[in-house]
């Protein structure tokens, strides 16, 4: 399979990145973020890449890239084995300078500046390749959801939280 043909396939639809897996391992990732607890699906390198993505994607008071990456690891652990494998490959591809050649940068995502990282994300978002569009969407939604699902975001978005209704019941136990 040529590289171009696997990039055109869908993201979680199969073992699409297997052909590239061996080649991607040689590009060095800047290991800036380290896990605080045992990982479920990701390895330390995948975690560092995901946390770097989270740091650039989620700009909000109290947003912690390491917590977000752990949260995504938990969500991915509940997915099928196929989706887990695809997600690990996606992270390696995302960080690789190999993929970066398409966007005229030759360093891994983890070692790029704030502006350069933004350019990479836009390049994936606006790519004509379905894999890159899907990849951007997956990384954006998973990191955003991991942060904004948590009560730590409530104050910063003006959400007062749920009403206090504990102990109140609308009806007695429903009966036929």
């Amino acid at each position: 399979m040529t590289r171009r043909s696997f990039l055109k396939r869908g993201l979680f639809g199969g073992a699409l990145l297997a052909a590239a897996g061996a080649g991607l391992a040689m590009w060095p990732t800047l290991m800036k973020h380290h896990p605080r607890k045992p990982l479920l699906v990701l390895d330390a390198r995948g975690f560092a890449i995901l946390a770097a993505i989270a740091a650039r994607m989620v700009d909000a008071p109290g947003a912690d890239p390491i917590e977000i990456a752990h949260g995504v690891d938990v969500v991915i652990a509940r997915e099928s084995h196929e989706a887990q494998a695809d997600f690990r490959q996606l992270l390696l591809l995302f960080d690789s300078a190999l993929a970066g050649l398409m966007d005229a940068h030759v360093r891994p995502f983890t070692s790029l500046s704030f502006d350069e990282q933004g350019s990479v994300l836009y390049a994936w978002r606006d790519s004509r390749l379905a894999l890159r569009q899907s990849g951007y969407k997956a990384l954006r939604n998973l990191t955003a959801a991991a942060h904004y699902a948590s009560p730590t975001c409530w104050e910063s978005v003006g959400y007062p939280g749920p009403p206090k209704i504990s102990g109140m019941v609308a009806t007695p136990a429903a009966t036929p």
Partner: protein, 515 residues
């Protein structure tokens, strides 16, 4: 059956169970059918992969509710991730997490099923008595305009301002507090979901409801289902991990009520693929806007979905639309808005001032539409694919245009589309942007919360999976399918009440012809 065992965690079981009817899935279809068959004296077991939760578990927090109550923690999507799919996963199925909207099936839909898809004996006349009964049991009633929240009131006012009819919705609630958290499990048992209504009814008549029990396959021998082979799921972390425990359920009859993704995938894993199994999946594809208002909207509080407009349901040869609202809590707001970094943050800080309105495309009514597919990966997990055809993109574009116009007419400061980057509309003059905007996969956010089809009913075995008279499989004599997967098209309304009505009717027909 003499025991009084009711809700049972699969982890407490081992080996083999036997009964007269084994129903796979405890949502809108399985629960109503279980209650009907149990009341008729049948010995019923209901198998559910999700967990059994009660109001004490519902803390109105997205980080807990989504992994607890939704498939894949709420992250389910089509194969290319272009359509996010919100689907329930719990005892009670999607009824535990839905937004309570309850409509009878439009007569025009049932007519089309009869005319085009060979669906017999399923008209309004057959369903009405069941709907009457169900609406009483579930306290389905129309909410008054005075009881709606501002998010819904803005949809109502906006529709009126641009000349479109809008009405308040019917909801299955009793003494509703209108807290706004239907989608995270009702914390006060106001929502009359299956876990507090028809499933307890079934249990009162001796049924057993087994949670955390995933059906891997049906064992089919000589055109007959002999047993259901199940894996017990962990009681930790919302029950996604498999345990080594296996269960086998033997029964005289089996019913698949696992929903329009679960049912086709069980058929395929059981060697019952082929024909139209896993084909003709319809999603009511949803496009949405967020609109900013000067005065607070607080889209997180109040009855979440209490106004709907069906004014565009019939657009001649074009795909019809209906419009409703969506509640916005922080995570849903984060997913349904666009962009990243500071740009995304700027939208999120407007949350209390945002309204969220949606347009749903009524798919499956044109002969060119073949819908989506459900297949199974090597691990057994389902995979949904739904390539959106041009005529549905046209409808979604028109839906978006209408949502923008009605919000501007209702006084919005600006309206954002779900494109990435978002398109911003501050006046009607900005609508021209829509003509050049991309309407293509992953260029604009598309959602689905109504999954239908994939095992459709009809009179022609080459074009359908079950016969419509009693939802029995065309070639497997003791297998029935009773859930949204039997729909030959989408509906044009939220699907729960259609499924309730069909399930109760089919329960009676199965009882009458019991062998």
């Amino acid at each position: 059956m003499s025991d009084k065992i009711g809700f049972i965690d699969g982890n407490s079981l081992d080996g083999e169970l036997t009964c007269e009817v084994c129903i796979v899935g405890s949502g809108a279809g399985g629960a109503v059918l279980a209650a009907r068959l149990a009341a008729a004296g049948k010995e019923v077991i209901v198998l559910e992969e999700g967990g059994h939760y009660t109001r004490a578990d519902f803390h109105m927090r997205e980080d807990e509710a989504f992994p607890m109550l939704y498939q894949e923690s709420g992250a389910r999507a089509t194969k290319d991730l272009s359509i996010a799919i919100l689907q329930g996963r719990a005892v009670g199925g999607s009824t535990v997490a839905n937004w309570t909207t309850s409509f009878r099936t439009p007569e025009s839909v049932l007519d089309q099923w009869a005319r085009v898809h060979g669906v017999r004996e399923l008209g309004v006349g057959a369903l009405n008595p069941h709907w009457d009964e169900i609406e009483k049991r579930l306290s389905i009633a129309q909410i008054s305009l005075e009881e709606t929240n501002r998010n819904n009131r803005l949809l109502y006012d906006g529709c009126k301002a641009i000349g479109l009819e809008a009405k308040t919705t019917f909801r299955n609630t009793r003494n509703c507090f209108k807290s706004g958290y239907c989608g995270m499990g009702c914390p006060v048992d106001a929502k009359q979901s299956m876990n507090i209504t028809y499933l307890p009814d079934a249990i009162a008549h001796g049924a057993r409801v087994v949670s955390r029990c995933r059906v891997d396959r049906l064992v089919v021998e000589a055109g007959h289902v002999a047993s259901a082979e199940c894996t017990v799921l962990s009681s930790d972390d919302y029950g996604y991990a498999e345990t080594p425990q296996r269960l086998r359920v033997r029964a005289k009859k089996f019913v698949l009520s696992a929903g329009a993704i679960g049912t086709p995938s069980i058929l395929i894993r059981s060697g019952l693929s082929g024909g139209v199994v896993g084909r003709g999946t319809y999603l009511h594809p949803v496009i949405g806007v967020t609109a900013r208002y000067k005065d607070p909207v607080e889209p997180f509080y109040g009855a979440p979905q209490s106004v709907a407009s069906h004014a565009l349901a019939h657009r001649g040869d074009k795909v019809g639309l209906f419009m409703e609202t969506a509640p916005l809590h922080p995570m849903l707001a984060a997913i349904s808005s666009s962009g990243f970094g500071p740009q995304h943050r700027a939208i999120m800080t407007e949350l209390p001032h945002l309204a969220a309105h949606i347009a749903l495309a009524i798919d499956g009514f044109h002969e060119s539409e073949t819908g989506g597919t459900v297949t199974v990966r090597p691990s057994g997990a389902p995979l949904v694919d739904y390539p959106i055809p041009p005529r549905i993109w046209e409808a979604l574009r028109e839906g978006l245009r209408t949502l923008i116009r009605l919000n501007l007419a209702a006084g919005a400061d600006w309206v954002l589309s779900g494109h990435d980057p978002a398109l911003r509309f501050s006046s009607e003059r900005d609508l021209g942007q829509l003509d050049s905007a991309p309407f293509a996969p992953n260029r604009v956010n598309i959602f689905s919360a109504h999954i239908m089809g994939g095992a459709r009913m009809g009179d022609d075995p080459a074009r359908s999976v079950v016969r419509s008279s009693d939802c029995r499989h065309h070639s497997v004599s003791n297998l029935h399918i009773v859930d949204g997967s039997i729909f030959p098209t989408s509906l044009g309304v939220n699907p729960q009440e259609t499924i309730y009505g069909i399930a109760q009717l089919m329960g009676d027909r199965m009882t009458q012809s019991w062998q």
